[in-house]
Each structure stands twice: as structure tokens, then as C-alpha cells.
């Protein structure tokens, strides 16, 4: 289980997260929801070690991730698909996937699995990443993270700005990762996506955890979530 306990983090001396605690379980999707500036991206960056913690801890299978240098966190099995994709734009699809794959050098089938999940990437294999459409870029960003065969996958607004067909493909891939037993932390603002995918919803407000709702609670009273999100 990915466990955050009283995590406080921020940028420089500006504290954004204040004592946030939640747990993401294998085979489940935990949606991190909240308004803009609530601290969703800061939370996933803190999990990845990209921001130093001001307090608290992040653990995964008895490994204290917050004690590791940032480059060791992916090697502990934590995959990250950042907001805005952050691909290597001048490298080809194949080269981008290679960089993701080499971290997990022993697994030779990871690339085949990714290309099976996203056949579009096979078609675009020798094309430069910055010439792909937004949806294809998102597939590549997810594929690159999945090449690692992560046990935990952090997705930061993966469907932002995509056309409906691409949104469906990305959601299907996210659900497949959950079905394979991966603990998925999904930063999401769309109510329909949250309702469709989330097993748990952790609601952030001004850097604090306001509520954790289960799938059943969201299903019984969708208006409650909408009210909490302020939409």
C-alpha cells in the first residue's frame, strides 16, 4: 500500500501541503481531486521525491520513499506521468520508450505490452515525439511510465485537453493498469472520470485533505462530490 502520513511539502519556503494522509491500495484507483491550486500536483511531486518534504513520510511496501534520492523512487516501482507529459520531444517514440524501459533492464517484454496496449505507438514508433497529436503524446507518456512495470502509477490529469476518443483510450488504459493490480493515483478534476474510475476519492482543499470518499459514497450521492469540488 502507498501510504502518505502527515505529508507537508511546498516550494522553497512556501508551504502548499499541510499534513496530508491517505493510502492507495494495489488494484484500486485513488482519485486526487480538488480545485486549482489545492495541492494535487504538489502531492504527486512529493511522492516522487521531486519536492523535499517539510514533514511526514511516504512509504511503499516498507520502503520509505521520502528517504530516497529522487532517481531511486522510480526504481522502487513508482511510475509517474506528469502533467503536460514532459516527453523528450526531439527523440522518437521508440527512443522515449527505451529510456523508460532501461530503468527496468531485466524485463524484455515490457515494451511489447505497452505497444499492445497502445497500438498507435507502434505505428508512430520512428516518429519524433513532438510531432504526435496531444492524445498520442499522452499515450507515449503513459507507455513510457508503464515500461517500468510500476506497482504504483501516478497520473497527473492525463486527459486534460484531449479529444473524446483519446480520453476513452486513456481511461481504458488506466482501468487496465488497475486490473493488473497496480495502485493508481489519478489527479483528476472531471466528475465523470472520477465517477467512472475512482475506488476512492481524496479531496484536497488549500493543501489540506478535506475528505476521503469511497466509490459507494460517490455513487449514492454524486452531488456531494460536486458540492465539495465546488462545481
Amino acid at each position: 500500500m502507498l501510504q502518505l502520513e502527515n505529508v507537508s511539502a511546498g516550494y522553497g519556503r512556501a508551504q502548499v501541503l499541510r499534513e496530508v494522509s491517505f493510502a492507495a491500495k494495489p488494484g484500486e484507483i485513488l482519485c486526487l481531486a480538488g480545485r486549482n491550486g489545492a495541492g494535487k500536483t504538489t502531492t504527486v511531486q512529493a511522492i516522487m521525491g521531486l519536492l523535499p518534504l517539510m514533514g511526514g513520510s511516504v512509504t511503499w511496501k516498507q520502503i520509505v520513499l521520502s528517504d530516497l534520492p529522487p532517481h531511486q523512487v522510480p526504481r522502487a516501482g513508482i511510475g509517474y506521468v506528469p502533467q503536460g507529459r514532459r516527453l523528450f520531444g526531439d527523440l522518437t517514440v521508440g527512443q522515449n520508450l527505451d529510456i523508460g524501459r532501461f530503468t527496468n533492464g531485466k524485463d524484455l517484454h515490457a515494451l511489447d505490452d505497452v505497444l499492445e496496449l497502445f497500438p498507435r505507438l507502434r505505428e508512430r514508433y520512428t516518429q519524433r515525439a513532438n510531432t504526435l497529436s496531444g492524445g498520442e503524446q499522452q499515450m507515449l507518456a503513459m507507455g513510457r511510465a508503464m515500461c517500468l512495470r510500476p506497482s504504483v502509477l501516478l497520473l497527473d490529469e492525463p486527459t486534460e485537453g484531449l479529444q473524446p476518443s483519446m480520453i476513452t483510450a486513456i481511461r481504458d488504459a488506466t482501468a487496465q493498469m488497475r486490473d493488473r493490480g497496480v495502485a493508481v493515483v489519478l489527479v483528476e478534476q472531471r466528475l465523470d472520470a472520477i465517477a467512472a474510475l475512482a475506488d476512492q476519492v481524496a479531496l484536497l482543499e488549500n493543501g489540506r485533505l478535506r475528505a476521503v470518499l469511497t466509490r459507494e459514497e460517490v455513487a449514492v450521492d454524486p452531488q456531494k462530490l460536486a458540492h465539495l469540488l465546488g462545481v
Binding site: 516522487m48 521531486l50 534520492p69 529522487p70 532517481h71 531511486q72 523512487v73 522510480p74 526504481r75 509517474y80 506528469p82 514532459r86 516527453l87 523528450f88 520531444g89 526531439d90 527523440l91 527512443q95 527505451d98 529510456i99 523508460g100 532501461f102 530503468t103 533492464g105 520512428t126 513510457r144 517500468l148
Partner: protein, 315 residues
């Protein structure tokens, strides 16, 4: 083996074959020039590993070339070692200097990295001048012909020298190709593209950059040691800032981040200066104009442009 890899091996094999065969047809003057160009291109290949593939712009690479040159030269002049062991001493000296400079300079990045490497190279240059008792300062020293014998072969003989330069070039080329095609090389390219993203994917970026500096320094030192032993001269001018700028120009001209770019750039620049100096005393002006034109019309260098437009598989 993929088609791209086959094409790439075929091209590089063909270039090596042409270089080897050229010794039988070239007149003596160009024969000697080509031997020199191959050694300098090996130096540029070392530079390219750091600049073209890792994205670290060093302005102090002359220090590594000179470390190889003086490591070899001083081993021969001060300790009377043979040509073979002296060559090894040169490479070891360059590797050690690379490791020390790497540890210190990689604490900085960007412009600061350029300045720090430049300062270290200047310190190295001044050290050579300061210890003139051993290094003969600005004048340098000559390696006598009887000492330039390796495995019974007289390295001062033009044919042997050409073959030795060709061997060094082959080593550099194969090493660069192997690095670029390896997992290590692909991570270096990712670091060049974006350090933070590479780290985010689980790579210890500092360790990779350090390895690149050491590898680049070793190759530069090999070229330096080979230059000294093949052409019989060890001089402080090779440690000057000019010899840090040259490989940058050669690599930019030929195409940064291409394996053959340094050879093309070195050959082009060498003959540009050679030919234009035969026409006018203002030959640097001609060289400058040509460089500006190339920068404007082929900003990625000769092979870089060729890769962008035609040979996308070029490593």
C-alpha cells in the same frame, strides 16, 4: 539486426575503408595531413561524446588532450619508458584528470560549467609553463626518433604513422558507435534533451554525466598521447584555450551528436585553413565567412543537416 543498424554499420565501414585506401593514392603532403586529421578527429570524437551526446559544453578540453600528450611525453623524457607504456601513461593521466575535473566541475551547470572547465584548462596551461624545467615551457620538447618505436615499428615512418593514426581513429570510432548504440549512450542523449525528465525516470544523472566526462577525457587523452608520439612533439600550445575551441568548432561544423561529424568537421576546417592560407594572408577571414555561412544554412552542422533531411538513421 535492424535495417537502421545495418545501414549505419555499412556507412561507417565504408568510411573506414576509404580512409584506409586513401594512403595508397594520396600524395605525401596530403598523406601526412590525413594522419594528423584522423588523430585530431579522434580528439573531436571525445569532445563530441560530452558536448554532442550529453549536452555538456566544455571550454577546457585542451586540458585532457594535453594530459595525454604530457603524460606520454614526460613518461618518456623523465622516466625513459618505452612508447607503448608511455601511451598507456598518457591515457591514464587524461582519465585521472578527467575524473578530478568531473567531480569538481559537475557541481555546476550551464554557463558556470563552461567557465569552470575553461579555468581548469587555463590552470593546466599555466602549470605546464610554470614547471618549465620538466616541460620545457612554451617551447615544448621533441621526442627523438629512436624512442618512437612501438612493437618494432618506427612510428616516424609516414606509412607506419598513417596506419597508427588510422588504428587510433578506428578505436575512437568503434568506441563512439558502441557508446551511442548502448543503453548508456541513450541515457546520455536523454540527459542532453532534458536532465530533470531523465532523473524523473529513475536515472542517477550525476553519475552518468561523470562517466561521460571521464570517457570523453580518456578518448581526448588517447588522441593527445598518440599525437605526441606520432608527430614527435610535445608543446604547451596544445594546452592553450585555442585547442579547447577547435574541437567545439570541428564538432559544430561536422554535426554535434553524430559519430562521423567530428571527422567531417576536422577535415573541412583543416583544409579550409590550409587552402585559404595559400591564397591570402587573411585566411582566417575566409574561414570566418565560411563558418558564418555554414552556421546560417546548416545550423546543425554538415552531417546534422544530412540527418535531418535525408539519413534519419544516422547515429
Amino acid at each position: 539486426m535492424t535495417t537502421d543498424l545495418k545501414k549505419s554499420l555499412l556507412l561507417h565501414g565504408a568510411v573506414l575503408a576509404v580512409l584506409f585506401a586513401s594512403q595508397f593514392v594520396l600524395p605525401a603532403y596530403h598523406h601526412g595531413n590525413l594522419a594528423r586529421v584522423m588523430i585530431l578527429a579522434s580528439y573531436a570524437m571525445g569532445y563530441n561524446l560530452l558536448f554532442g551526446y550529453t549536452g555538456l559544453l566544455s571550454l577546457g578540453h585542451a586540458l585532457f588532450f594535453a594530459a595525454g600528450l604530457y603524460g606520454m611525453g614526460l613518461a618518456m623524457s623523465q622516466f625513459d619508458v618505452g612508447a607503448g607504456p608511455a601511451l598507456v601513461c598518457g591515457v591514464i593521466a587524461g582519465t585521472l584528470v578527467g575524473a578530478v575535473i568531473g567531480m569538481l566541475a559537475l557541481r555546476t551547470e550551464g554557463v558556470a560549467f563552461m567557465i569552470v572547465t575553461l579555468m581548469f584548462a587555463q590552470a593546466g596551461y599555466l602549470t605546464i609553463l610554470y614547471f618549465g624545467t620538466y616541460t620545457r615551457g612554451d617551447e615544448g620538447f621533441v621526442i627523438a626518433q629512436p624512442d618512437r618505436v612501438l612493437l618494432g615499428l618506427d612510428l616516424s615512418d609516414p606509412t607506419v604513422r598513417f596506419f597508427a593514426a588510422f588504428t587510433v581513429f578506428c578505436i575512437a570510432l568503434i568506441m563512439c558507435l558502441a557508446v551511442v548504440k548502448s543503453r548508456f549512450g541513450k541515457v546520455l542523449i536523454a540527459i542532453r534533451e532534458n536532465e530533470d525528465r531523465t532523473q524523473m525516470l529513475g536515472y542517477d544523472v550525476t553519475r552518468y554525466k561523470f562517466s561521460a566526462v571521464v570517457l570523453s577525457a580518456s578518448l581526448s587523452a588517447l588522441a593527445g598521447a598518440a599525437y605526441g608520439i606520432l608527430f614527435g612533439y610535445v608543446g604547451a600550445s596544445f594546452a592553450s584555450v585555442q585547442y579547447s575551441i577547435f574541437p567545439l568548432l570541428w564538432v559544430l561544423l561536422g554535426g554535434a551528436g553524430t559519430v562521423l561529424g567530428p571527422l567531417i568537421g576536422t577535415l573541412f576546417m583543416f583544409y579550409l585553413i590550409d587552402l585559404s592560407s595559400g591564397i591570402t594572408t587573411a585566411y582566417m577571414l575566409i574561414a570566418g565567412v565560411v563558418l558564418v555561412l555554414l552556421t546560417v544554412f546548416a545550423p546543425q552542422g554538415i552531417l546534422g543537416e544530412l540527418r535531418r533531411r535525408v539519413w534519419k538513421w544516422l547515429p
